[in-house]
């Protein structure tokens, strides 16, 4: 009896420490990155770092502006392309599609989510980049290599589909059936019900889904890196190349250790990336937790 008790006690302590350890990883990561970016924060002012376009590590000039703009352009385009398509799809899956159709499409979403980012990047190089170079850019009267913000945005949009679709489908389905029935009973059509009742009551969840998608797009590295051209200059149109923050880190970190501040600058870039994504996912998390609480109580 005593050994059984003892085993139980030891096991519970082990499980407790595993839980604590895994919940502290985010904090440890952020602290480590911050600690390592102190040197650059000490020598350069924040406005120099964020607003200067001069990226010349060997002259110790680290202006993140082109990279931040590159990230924002690519991410914004991806969201513009992805949000309407994802939301319409999730409404279709949650409200309109027969369960048979849903049963086919859901595993496809899982597949889409499971495809490695390098494969998306490769696909972008094989399909999207030539398409832009040969057809889309000439239509707009632009000559480009095809490695552009547009290519990055398209590839990212596809990568973000499964996240937005699965989360928003879930929150739409969580809207109680009575709410819909009340609207239908007043003579509203299905779309009117969706528009005025379902979307309105699941709006916070849909926003959370979009934020999660944004976070994913913001930090995606390899696929974007492969199609976006990597020219350290703030883009001014969809047909310009860009150089997003994650690509900057991936291309340079671990190599140029001979310049003392370079390393610290790249870790600062990683910290910016982490904090932005954390901010967005904390907001999304708060919204989603609230929704869960509302439905489990109400």
């Amino acid at each position: 009896m005593n050994t059984r008790r003892l085993k139980d006690l030891v096991a519970s302590k082990i499980m407790f420490s595993a839980a604590i350890l895994s919940s502290l990883i985010v904090l440890i990561t952020a602290l480590a990155l911050f600690y390592r970016s102190i040197p650059i924060l000490k020598t350069q002012s924040l406005s120099d770092l964020f607003l200067s376009s001069s990226w010349h590590p060997w002259r110790e000039e680290f202006g993140f502006y082109p990279f931040i703009m590159g990230t924002l352009w690519v991410t914004a385009l991806a969201m513009v392309l992805s949000i309407p398509i994802s939301l319409l799809t999730s409404i279709y899956l949650a409200e309109y599609a027969p369960s048979k159709v849903r049963g086919i499409i859901k595993p496809m979403m899982d597949l889409l989510a499971g495809i490695p980012s390098v494969v998306y990047g490769l696909w972008g190089v094989l399909v999207v980049v030539p398409l832009i170079r040969e057809y889309v850019a000439p239509l707009a009267g632009v000559i480009t290599t095809g490695y552009t913000v547009l290519a990055g945005g398209i590839v990212l949009a596809i990568m973000v589909f499964p996240i937005i679709i699965s989360v928003s489908e879930e929150v739409i389905r969580a809207v109680p059936r009575e709410t819909r029935e009340a609207s239908m009973a007043l003579g509203a059509t299905k779309w009117q019900t969706v528009k005025h009742v379902v979307i309105r009551s699941s709006l916070p969840g849909i926003i959370a889904a979009i934020i999660l998608g944004f976070g994913r797009a913001f930090g995606e590295t390899m696929a974007v890196l492969m199609v976006v051209g990597n020219v350290p200059k703030a883009p001014s149109s969809l047909y310009d190349p860009a150089y997003p923050l994650p690509a900057l880190i991936a291309n340079n970190y671990g190599e140029m250790m001979s310049i003392p501040l370079y390393d610290s600058a790249l870790l600062l870039a990683a910290l910016i990336l982490l904090l932005t994504v954390l901010l967005f996912s904390v907001i999304a998390e708060i919204i989603l937790v609230r929704i869960k609480r509302r439905y489990s109580l109400g």
Binding site: A11, A19, I105, V118, I249, A250
Partner: protein, 282 residues
């Protein structure tokens, strides 16, 4: 009246169109990769490591990357599993519904959204601090960080769904918490646990950004934990980056291999889960 009908049909049409776009993008990715990759594939790619001048278009294969990826992903999955199962069990069976459990769940959800390049950078800074070079072990650690939130939350979701009556029956027989957890809960959740493991494994095999600095790249199959290790996603990336069309062809083939491995992991997980259903009391 008519206007409402038109609006209804318009939006329904748009929804179906969007759904088709999403499905088409999946199919196009799969088809292009397989059509471009499979013709470039040959047996020596699967069975040989790169010979001298491989990246100039000479003989050899990417066995180093295939084996490296399996080592990396399997190693990370083992470690992640060893941490995930206790954590998921703790969250559901031991901890009372408290601030701590919801904090843990939320921080894991947040960890889930952290870009994998961050794990790579973080892993690498730790490795420099410890005086390690890019190695199999470093890659495994970075991938473990990537896998943890995926695996724990997936296990957590299934364990949460287990009906409390099963536990109560076990307690009524005089079993301790640990005995109940291992003999009743873990068994009941087995299909879900297997799915969680495979889900994380699939992610780890495909992830490039986290192993970029931590595992390095080499033409040899690693012999110890401290050797650098090649990986398939990076093989795709590096081969595509060469200026030679023959080598780029091999990048397509490597991409197809990676895709096939990831897809088979996902199919295998469904099959395994189905088999494990026989332990589940319904």
């Amino acid at each position: 009246m008519d206007k409402r009908k038109i609006e209804e049909n318009f939006f329904k049409g748009m929804m179906i169109l969007s759904t088709l776009i999403v499905i088409a993008s999946l199919l196009v990715v799969l088809i292009v990769l397989l059509f471009k990759g499979v013709p470039a594939l040959n047996l020596s790619m699967l069975t040989q490591t790169p010979r001298g001048g491989y990246y100039l278009g000479k003989e050899g294969g990417i066995l180093n990357a295939i084996v490296g990826s399996l080592y990396l992903a399997c190693g990370a999955t083992v470690i992640a599993f060893a941490m995930s199962l206790p954590t998921a069990l703790y969250l559901n069976e031991y901890a009372k519904r408290s601030k701590l459990t919801s904090f843990t769940r939320q921080s894991l959800d947040i960890l889930w959204s952290v870009p994998s390049i961050i794990y790579g950078v973080f892993g690498y800074t730790i490795m420099i601090y410890l005086g390690m070079r890019a190695s199999l072990l470093g890659g495994i650690i970075a991938l473990t960080l990537l896998e943890l939130p995926i695996m724990i939350r997936a296990m957590d979701e299934v364990i949460m769904m287990i009906p409390p009556k099963l536990k109560e029956a076990s307690y009524a027989l005089g079993a301790t918490k640990l005995e109940t957890t291992l003999n009743v809960i873990a068994r009941q959740a087995l299909p879900g646990i297997l799915m969680a493991i495979m889900l994380a494994l699939g992610r780890a095999i495909g992830d490039a950004a986290s192993v970029l600095f931590t595992a390095g790249y080499t033409d040899h199959i690693p012999r110890s934990l401290f050797d650098p290790a090649a990986s398939l996603p990076l093989a795709v990336f590096f081969q595509l980056g060469t200026p030679f069309p023959e080598v780029q062809q091999r990048a397509y083939a490597s991409g197809a291999i990676l895709l096939v491995i990831v897809l088979s992991v996902s199919i295998a997980s469904r099959l395994l889960a189905k088999r494990a259903m026989k332990y589940v009391i319904r």
